[in-house]
Amino acid sequence: MHLSTAYQQKDVNTLIDYNTKKKKKIFTSIKQNIFLYLLVLPGVLYFLLFKIIPMWGVLISFQNYSPYTGLMHSEWVGLQNFKELFANSDFVLIFRNTMAISLLNLVFYFPVPIILSLMLNEVTNRRFKNTIQSIVYLPHFLSWVIITGLTFVLFSQSNGLINNLLVSMGFEKYNFLTNPKVFWPILTFQAIWKDAGWGTIIYLAALSGIDVQQYESARMDGASKIQQMWHITLPGLRNVIITLLILRIGHIMDVGFEQVFLMQNSAVSQVSDVFETYVYRVGVQNGRFSYSTAVGVFKSAIGLILVIVTNNIAKKCGEEGVY
């Protein structure tokens, strides 16, 4: 009896000693590196204030929030806002629009940078390659406001360039901009025009990492260009493609907000309302804070789940995940 209590006492003492020693270590470490901590202070404050604190805003979606009562004192309503969202016929609409735009993007936009980078890779003349690259990278740096302006002036029904060309070829003028049927494809074209060139950067970097010797030995074995591409180039790109595919799927709910916001008009509202434009309209313009926050939270939560799931799937297939 006496022995065991003696041992217990010793253990407790050791534990207390260990904790105080640890605290002392932390204090001295901070003191020694105080300037380093000062250096990172602004950045840490930024993330705390503008990234972490808004996350608490998620709670607003469970409340009946009013700016007057604030976060602490607004009435708690649980899942009511979410129930309202799912029961709302608008929800089906915005979900469909978001998915449609994203999927069109995935199917038509995603392969383009890959193909383009393969094409660029085949070019032997360095100057030509660099010139083409300079040209196709440029649209990435233009704002969506500018791109919308370009779209309007090109596709305008009254005197746009495209319609004038159609007329001169004997066709009739076509309504591009206020026509729900072509709204989604136009968004996809815009995305391709803007970012396909820029998207080649990562693939070109990966392509430059493929061992040149593989091509040499393949050529000596009599492989044609196409065979080389299939057996050497594409496998070399596999990792990058899968990683980017994961990211893309994880962001499937993130339809480019500025793009849609700028291209929207009343004629295409049925096909153009997506999650974030809905949140803006209902939340900021109509002031329904709680409800719109619920919409936003739903969207972000799905996105997060998707990224985690696709990341795990990729890891199981032997690829490196995103994190």
Binding site: L38, V40, G43, V44, Y46, W144, T148, A205, V279
Partner: protein
């Protein structure tokens, strides 16, 4: 031999396709340029068929640059871009450097948190409420502070700083330098390429930012150039480029040429900065994200 001919044909097709793609990229921009230099009277007559205007005219540009609204918006955009870029670079680089030093306690947690903020965003409303509660609505700071630091850039810059040999730091510390001096006098000069690259990216992002201005700014005198541009573009009136730019009438050029001149003016800073951006594309800035 047959193989050779087929392959060189493929090569030619490749080049032709690439040229076509480049043309498709450039034509819209050229069209806008052509329209912006079109003489107003010629435009009224010919409408939008001009790829090669007969008479070049600076009327649209002269008009735009004479309006207070346009000049205001330009100054606002330039100011936000300059100040925003400087502050963003300062905060990003200091944070990235600190996170690259292994002796920083809580380093791993901080990196995890930053990564998390990249994957989950509570949405427009919580951010809006925060800005409102900070009394920054209609304040220029609302265009800079909420987007001050990009998590991606922090992570990329940190990868860059990870490669700086610790011997440099140790030697300096032995001489009595503090971390801050090490950062400013040794690390920064070594990282100018990386800083320049991210600086340019930040600058372009501030220049192009549109939605934040729409969300947080109500006073037309505080409009950024992008907001003004959007109001001009959406306004479909044919007499002036809308009340968006000015209340004058009679002598103003047709709406379309004004809009195009505005688009070109808003694009010029990007074009100026573009050659400098190009130099950094192939460097470790991007490779860091692939490998890191």
């Amino acid at each position: 031999m047959k193989n050779g001919k087929f392959e060189s044909a493929l090569g030619t097709i490749n080049i032709v396709l690439l040229c076509t793609i480049s043309l498709v990229t450039l034509i819209p921009l050229y069209y806008v340029l052509a329209l912006s230099f079109t003489d107003p009277t010629e435009y009224l007559v010919k409408g939008g068929q001009l790829l090669f205007p007969d008479k070049l005219s600076l009327a649209s540009y002269k008009y735009l640059l004479s309006t207070a609204t346009f000049k205001n918006a330009t100054f606002v955009s330039i100011g936000i871009s300059l100040i925003g870029t400087l502050v963003s670079l300062a905060v990003t680089s200091t944070l990235a450097y600190g996170l690259s030093r292994k002796r920083l306690l809580g380093r791993k947690i901080m990196l995890r948190i930053i990564l998390f903020t990249l994957l989950f965003n509570p949405g427009i409303i919580p951010n809006y409420i925060l800005v409102k509660d900070l009394h920054l609505i209609n304040n220029y700071a609302a265009l800079i502070l909420p987007v001050l630091t990009s998590g991606w850039y922090v992570i990329l810059m940190k990868s860059f700083f990870d490669n700086i040999p610790p011997e440099l730091e140790e030697a300096a510390m032995l001489e009595g330098c503090t971390d801050i001096t090490v950062f400013t006098k040794i690390v920064l000069p070594l990282s100018l390429a990386s800083i320049a690259a991210f600086g340019l990216f930040y600058a372009v992002s501030y220049w192009n930012s549109f939605f934040n201005a729409v969300l947080y700014i109500n006073d037309p005198k505080k409009w950024t150039l992008q907001v003004l541009l959007r109001n001009m573009i959406i306004d479909s009136s044919t007499s002036t480029a809308g009340g968006a730019v000015s209340m004058e009438s009679a002598e103003t050029p047709p709406a379309e040429t004004l809009k195009m001149a505005a688009v070109i003016l808003a694009t010029i800073p990007i074009l100026i900065v573009y050659p400098f951006l190009q130099k950094h594309f192939d460097k470790g800035v991007m490779l860091g994200s692939v490998k890191g």
